[in-house]
Amino acid sequence: MSALLVESEREAANATYRSVVPAGESWIHEIPKGAYFRIVDLEGNQAVDTLFYNAHDYSDRYSAQDTIRNQRNIYLTTGTRLMSSAGHVMMTIVADTCGRHDTLGGACAAESNMVRYALEKRYMHACRQSFLKAIVEWEHGMDKRDITSNINFFMNVPVTPEGELNFEDGVSAPGKYVELRAEMDVLALISNCPQLNNPCNAYNPTPIEVLIWDGQDH
């Protein structure tokens, strides 16, 4: 896959919001329609598990199946429109210096780690733990039912024509980023993945930076 890499014209110095999210932490934040949202893979090969919700109706949320079917392609990159479960365009990817992102691999969980690796892995930190902590602290009545199939920015999960699927070494590198324009008011939820059992984080989870340009004049 030779995706066209597209850089953003926005300057980090002009962002209205910037925050570094360490590995193993969550981040939850509203992004208004028209704003631009960038996620930077600061040190490279870091999976960023991400969900989006309609900020006014959390039952209308990012849908992996609707998104890939709508563009007839399983990989996300510049030009991808993130579709909601009710058929709305939530976000458009407007810049991408990595090239492709996954939305089939889902989030790691204590329970799925037990299945995938060993029953003893139950006590390792996992994305779903971070997601659940974040939505409890958000205090808007969200619960586990709202943790649906997510995007894994910077993660490489190739599917073969024979129908095999594998987690492989990342195609990202330090400073690579993806940038999205909000097409509606959204709530963004991120778990900066703590997985140590597969190459999704190159066995070394690292921090990311999130930036928002809030308004039409950037």
Partner: protein, 238 residues
């Protein structure tokens, strides 16, 4: 198919929805009566529906982007809801999702009940929503679905292709319940179906008593991950 005793059978009409709590130790045999059927399906633990089919966990635990005999359907809790114990098709689609009112109207035109009576056009998403509402569930409970009898392949660049005529007349797939599973189905066409006409197909359902799941069960031994998935499921019923 497995040596089982048939408990009951029925036909799900074209474009219709169906739901049932398939008890642990029973199987559901689904037969494509005419060829070209599609069965959209989602699954919940009936005792605690917050535990439900998890598509990514199902794919990554078994390293697959297609479903066939030997594969199991995982819940988000590391347990197995159903196993695929028989399959004469060889490829069932976990990627394409379901149609919705907008996509069906766009593809096949408007066909409301007033003019068409029970031949009115139905769609996958609304069919799922109506059926799960009967069990006290709603839009937040709608998960990614499987499409039995349909095949969507992915090329090296990620492009998705729907393959017509994947399933022939009398093709069948058998699901064995490993928990008490709320199964929600509909026979709406696959959202990527290349047939330009609204032509959903009927399927025959046969609910049967399943044999106990032994140590050598092919689904248990399909992957090392499935050994652990069965162990966790069996613990739940201890």
């Amino acid at each position: 198919m497995s040596e089982t005793s048939v408990l009951w059978e029925e036909t799900v009409e074209p474009g219709a929805a169906w739901s049932h709590v398939l008890k642990r130790g029973t199987s559901l045999l689904i037969t494509d009566m005419e060829g070209g059927a599609n069965v959209g399906a989602i699954f919940y633990n009936f005792e605690c529906p917050a535990e439900r089919f998890n598509l990514p966990d199902t794919l990554k635990a078994q390293h697959v982007a297609r479903l066939t005999k030997g594969c199991v359907l995982y819940s988000d809790m590391g347990r197995i809801l159903c196993s695929i114990t028989e399959d004469t098709v060889g490829w069932h689609d976990p990627l394409g999702g379901c149609s919705n009112a907008q996509s069906v109207a766009c593809k096949y035109g408007s066909a409301p009940y007033q003019q068409y009576r029970n031949h009115f056009h139905r769609n996958g998403r609304d069919s799922f929503l109506v059926e799960i509402e009967k069990w006290g569930l709603g839009p937040r409970d709608l998960t990614a679905n499987v499409n039995f009898f349909s095949r969507v392949t992915v090329d090296d660049d990620g492009g998705m292709t729907f393959h017509p005529r994947n399933s022939m007349s009398r093709s069948h797939v058998e699901l064995r319940a490993e928990m008490n599973v709320l199964v929600v189905l509909n026979t709406c066409q696959h959202p990527l179906d290349t047939n330009p006409k609204y032509e959903p197909k009927p399927v025959r359902l046969s609910v049967r008593k399943a044999r106990p799941v032994g140590a050598a069960d092919p689904c248990r031994r399909f992957r090392p991950e499935n050994l652990r998935g069965f162990a966790l499921t069996e613990r739940y019923f201890v």
